[in-house]
């Protein structure tokens, strides 16, 4: 995986959702464990305290009943060793360094009377004295030199002596440590697993949404037949897709209605116009004298202009409704401009207008060739019709990020400030214009149908500037 896709993945919504879900999940499971851990630890302590209490009581009994003779030490010591062995049996971890249990008896004067256990009894006695353990309440005890604390229960005997029974917390701590380690591993596994599941399910689901978005953006002005993909499941995403498709059905339907209307209108006007044009044309050769032919010729030319006007009007109307039918192919703007300028240059030169093309690198757009031709022809026709003599026109095409810019600048009088704001609307024209006010409206309509824009303004140094911005062709569509 390249770092680019990794970075893109980390910016995705699926990643963010899974991160937050994982944090919540991890915190939740951690809290459960802390609770469990505390419960287990206190339960283990309760059990060992109970055992200690029982043993201390027994030992106290034995110590009290055993006559204080030479055998006393042995009898009490053996009972204490029995308790130690019991612990060893119960918890199979004995035999390691340090005994799990110690027994200590102090005399009424505080001297060490009996010591059963590993190591030096005096150290334990010192620690016990410092801890001041009360009878009947088991307490933790740390002994210098011994790493693991003891749980100690004590009992006061009638003869003023104290007995202490200590149980190493080693096993308890080991169990808890093991529990913690296992839980941690399990927790890590669960969190990673949970993250994975959340990430992949959300990515899958959002993948459907992305597919819908992609499909919906593809369904542009020209491709209304396409539908967004639906899944068989009846979840929210699938409902979204279905709703979108229903909406598209409706849009397509109204588009078709609009096309039917404009087609019918065009048809009903064009058929009689065809007949009129044909009749006029047929009557031409019969007219002997040039002066007699003039009105017929003028009528034919007027008729052609009318047809062009009709076509443009319907195109503008359809484009305004985002319903202009376009057929895209890859077009090099510079090459097209060169051809068009080549076509218009003689006419412009005859009017004393100089035209220059600035086009360094080819700019490709994915557009309808016929409409592009007509759009540029319109812009050049505009220059030819409206510019006074000895003006300059500068045409430029260049790519600006993902936009292809087509810029027409001239040194003429510029737009009438009164109409500048609305110059791209239908029937808007300057005071001195003799056109029908469709030219720039058509340019705007074509740009709009291709997902572009047109800006018309007056340059500070005088003259007009028209900028057509179109999306650059994606490399894979050429």
């Amino acid at each position: 995986m390249s770092s680019g896709t990794a970075r893109r993945r980390m910016r995705s919504a699926a990643w963010r959702i899974s991160c937050w879900a994982t944090v919540a999940f991890a915190c939740g499971t951690l809290a459960v464990f802390v609770f469990l851990h505390r419960f287990v630890a206190s339960d283990m302590q309760r059990r060992s305290d109970e055992w200690l209490a029982g043993e201390v009581e027994t030992l106290g009994d034995v110590a009290e009943r055993t006559p204080k003779n030479a055998l006393y030490d042995r009898v009490v010591g053996e009972v204490a060793e029995l308790a130690e062995r019991e612990v060893s049996n119960r918890q199979s971890s004995a035999g390691q360094a340090g005994a799990p249990v110690f027994f200590l008896q102090t005399g009424g004067d505080g001297s060490l009377r009996l010591w059963v256990g590993a190591g030096d009894g005096a150290l334990y006695q010192q620690a016990l004295r410092a801890a001041a353990i009360l009878p009947g309440r088991p307490t933790d005890l740390r002994v210098t030199g011994v790493a693991i604390p003891f749980r100690v229960a004590s009992d006061a005997l009638d003869d003023g002596s104290h007995i202490y029974l200590g149980l190493s917390e080693r096993d308890e701590l080991r169990v808890l440590n093991k529990l913690r380690l296992r839980f941690f591993l399990l927790w890590l596994l669960l969190v990673l697993f949970g993250f994975g599941i959340v990430f992949f399910t959300t990515r899958r689901m959002l993948g459907h949404v992305r597919k819908i978005t992609e499909a919906a953006s593809r369904i542009g002005h020209s491709d209304l037949n396409a539908r967004v993909p639906t899944t068989r499941r009846n979840d929210e995403v699938s409902q979204l897709a279905q709703t979108l498709n229903v909406m598209l059905d409706r849009i397509e339907n109204s588009m078709r209605q609009l096309h039917t209307i404009t087609d019918a209108l065009a048809h009903d006007l064009r058929s009689p116009l065809t007949a009129i044009r044909g009749k006029l044309e047929i009557s031409l050769p019969a007219v002997a004298r040039e002066e007699d032919a003039e009105p017929i010729v003028a009528a034919i030319e007027e008729l052609d202009r009318l047809v062009d006007f009709l076509n443009k009007s319907l195109d503008v109307a359809e484009a305004r409704a985002d319903a202009l039918r376009i057929r895209r192919s890859g077009i090099g703007l510079c090459e097209l401009l060169r051809t068009m300028i080549d076509l218009y240059e003689p006419s412009l030169a005859e009017k004393g207008i100089a035209i220059a093309l600035q086009c360094e690198d080819e700019v490709k757009v994915f557009a309808d060739a016929g409409l592009m031709h007509r759009m540029i022809a319109n812009l050049l026709d505009n220059a030819l019709k409206h510019l006074p003599r000895s003006c300059q026109v500068a045409v430029a095409a260049r790519a600006d990020g993902d936009r292809a810019l087509l810029i027409f600048e001239d040194s003429g009088p510029g737009f009438d400030p009164a109409v500048l704001e609305h110059v791209c609307e239908r029937r808007v024209k300057g005071r001195n214009s003799d056109g029908r006010g469709l030219g720039l409206a058509f340019v705007e309509a074509v740009a709009r149908a291709h997902g572009g824009t047109v800006t018309a303004q007056n340059r500070q140094q005088g003259g007009a500037r028209i900028e057509v911005s179109l999306p650059v062709a994606a490399a894979d569509r050429e």
């Binding site: 087609d263 058929s271 065809t274 044909g278 009749k279 006419s347 031709h373």
Partner: protein, 225 residues
Amino acid sequence: MRLLLVEDEIDIQRFLLRSLEEAGYKAEIAADGKTAQQLAVDGRFDLLIVDLGLPDMDGIDLILRLRQLGVRAPVLILSARRSVDDRVRGLEQGGDDYLTKPFALAELLARLRNLLRRNLPAQAETTKLRVLDLELDLLRREAARGGRHLQLTQQEFVLLEYLCRNAGRVVTRSMILDQVWGMRIQPDTNVVDVHIYRLRGKVDGDGQQPLIRTMRGAGYVLRDR
């Protein structure tokens, strides 16, 4: 050459019939799809002119059915619709042609000739064109009139070549734009005329008989007589 004109508008039928006959074609008329089907299957026509908006069926369906019935003649489709339907484009790729209404008669005749020529055995590609005293060398891209070399730009040469290939016939401005510049546009300015004036200035020198004639209301003709 026998043509079948399938068109329901009587006005259009009438002037088309007249101009087709003037151009030397024999044409029969069918006003609806059913008649057209019978006539086309029975009679042997060299070419069909079919209007898309017929009263009883869609013109394209008619063409497709005729193709199924074994009618091989090329078709010139006339359409008053605004946009060119995908099926029309399909037919166009299959060797047929279309023309949107309203059209110039010269353009209709030019397209007819093109379609009929496609069905003839291919002629050896000429390298030289000669019209009266005008001579074009297509390989060296050179033109001369009466032995005088003409200084033409690349574009002017292509334009003159197109006129020569259609010598004696009217070519309209939109035909010139389509064939020479490769674009179907309708400029509302005199761009084509200026190119023709320039070319005429070079071809028709002082004292020579003018070759390029303007046919008002129609287009231009390169005289061949």
